[in-house]
């Protein structure tokens, strides 16, 4: 479960003054649900997700993730979250197995747990061929699989994806999309940010349209289509960011 309540984050910029990267963002994601955060570059998606992953602290407002407060119980939140972003890279000089063992240890897993979970993840993601090779020599697909395994090693209840398909070829992107669906099937709470409309249409149960740090529209795809009397999500997006806030009840 994720519950954001008026999440606000202000950055100070010497030239532009105070910038509200997230401005009173509120939403709720239930277990077994994929919440799609749709927005253009610089809309505030990454800031919102970094706030939920406790990488940043909110200026005001708050949130609970997996039942833990993101400010007071940040370490507990991180223990129950799997965070995958285009910007979360792998250690090039470690093998895939060593990477999983490292993050497993950081999550407090025992050696026996790490071994068994590595085996299971390698089976599920078909990683055996490159499990003992260094990540620096991996193809994009191998890197993606290792990153996915890294986020799952501690079996988190909540998954946060920040534009995970950014810069990936179609096959690597499909692996990610398949993985996100599997997370939902396993009952995990999933939040997924992107600016790619087709991904949102295919994946998300609920869509939140974010612009200038504010959540301007929210609802299922069907509800948004009905509200804006438009079938095309791109048109809905354009109308939403140009129109006053229309939030789902």
């Amino acid at each position: 479960m994720i519950e954001a309540r008026g999440l606000t984050k202000t950055f100070r910029d010497k030239k532009r003054g105070d910038i509200r990267a997230a401005d009173g963002v509120s939403f709720r994601v239930a277990p077994g649900q994929i919440y799609g955060l749709l927005g253009a570059n610089g809309a505030g998606k990454t800031t919102t997700l970094r706030l939920l992953a406790t990488l940043l602290q909110p200026t005001s407002g708050g949130a609970t993730v997996a039942g833990f407060d993101i400010v007071r119980e940040a370490q507990q939140v991180r223990a129950h979250v799997g965070f995958l972003a285009a910007s979360t890279a792998l250690y090039g000089r470690l093998t895939a197995r060593e990477t999983l063992a490292y993050f497993g240890k950081l999550h407090g897993l025992t050696t026996a747990d790490i071994v068994s979970r590595t085996q299971r993840l390698a089976d599920e993601l078909d990683m055996h061929e490159f499990l003992d090779r260094r990540c620096e020599k991996f193809s994009t697909g191998m890197k993606q699989k290792t990153s996915i395994a890294r986020t799952l090693i501690h079996d988190p209840a909540v998954m946060i994806f920040d534009e995970p398909t950014l810069g990936l070829d179609i096959m690597a992107a499909r692996t990610i999309v398949k993985f996100v669906r599997e997370c939902r099937a396993r009952g995990k709470t999933v939040i997924y940010s992107t600016h790619i409309m087709s991904e949102v249409e295919k994946l998300c149960d609920v869509i939140g349209i974010i612009h200038d740090g504010r959540l301007l529209a929210e609802g299922t795809l069907a509800a948004l289509r009905s509200r804006y009397a438009e079938q095309d999500l791109e048109e809905i997006f354009v109308r939403a960011v140009g129109a006053p806030p229309v939030l789902a009840p």
Binding site: L55, R78, T88, A89, Y91, G92, L94, E98, K105, R150
Partner: protein, 412 residues
Amino acid sequence: MNWTHIFTVYGKELRDMLRDRRTLISMIVIPTIAMPGLFALVIAVSFKVEREVAATPPSIMILGGDDSSAMRDGLAKNPKLSIAPPTENWRQQIVDKKLRAAVEFPPGLETTLAGGGSASVNIYHYQGEVRSSRAVTEVQEFLKAQANKIVATRLAERGLTPAAIKPIEVKALNVAPPEKVGGNLIGGIIPYFFLILAFTGAMYPAMDLTAGEKERGTMETLLCSPVGRVDIVLGKFLMILTASLGTVACSLLSMTATLSIGGSILARSIGGGDPAAAARAASRIASMTTLDPVGLLAVVGMVLPMVVLFAASLFTISLFAKSFKEAQSYVSPLIVVILMPAMIGMLPGVELNWKLALVPILNVSLASKELVSGVWHWDLLGLIFASTCLYAVIALGLAVRMFSRESVIFRT
């Protein structure tokens, strides 16, 4: 603070670093091979130059003195000097280093001396030039011998002995043990090497584990894990400290090996087949390199908190950078900041006192110079150790604080 997390981060960083060729070069190859090699090369070249200078008589020119043939002939017969025929452009020849010195005898020199008077002889030379200095020394020794003979004759004529004008004979005799003499000779260089190596050893890992990780995107991956920021800082800091101490340890071992094994090889090569020359060179090398082992250990003890200070400071500064390249531009000029106080500490005459004991780097440099010479000022040493530890703790605290700042970690 969770020590399991700290050692997990440290263990990963250690494994990562040991697989990095650049770290191995800066931590092991440079201190064990390049530095002692350079050291030995400098000693070998300086001995070779000295031997060549000693083997070749410097060329001098005699100006005037046509009416003082005995003096002229005496100087010309000196086997340690080579006499060049007189020319008009002797000044230019000295500047061009074709001629090492010119000796100008005044008119009527011998007549003046025979008459019981005194005369002035000018020696023109190239100040600071080794061969020119040697020519001046040889000429001065010749003239001094001549002057002594004249004085002896004049005293005899008056019925006096040389003791009449030299009632007190002064002799300076060394009683200091060889390790203390050695300490004075190279004592200033030892901490200088330690500090430079400790700093350069910490430089690369500090930049790689902070700015490098930010640039590669692995920092964000690490921050997603349920590990406290303090634990991450300490794990990374311990790795930087290991690299720094590893560099110092490697260089210390290789220096010891170079000085003990290489010294005799160097002496033989300097001797060039002449056993007496080799023995002289070996004795000189031994006098330069004999150090008080307890003092040397104490130097390592004094350098330790300084290494902590370096590691923490480099961590903090590098962390601020967005990329490895930016970190290099911040960190590289700092070498001068390390070099300057360390060099001041090497200068003769700069002594340790209560004020200087509080100046980082300079205090350790000065204290180390005294320690390897066997001088122990316990009160000052205590102050230096305590102040350096305090600076190190402050730097480490600053590193933790910087690591907790979003504007630093996510600086774009």
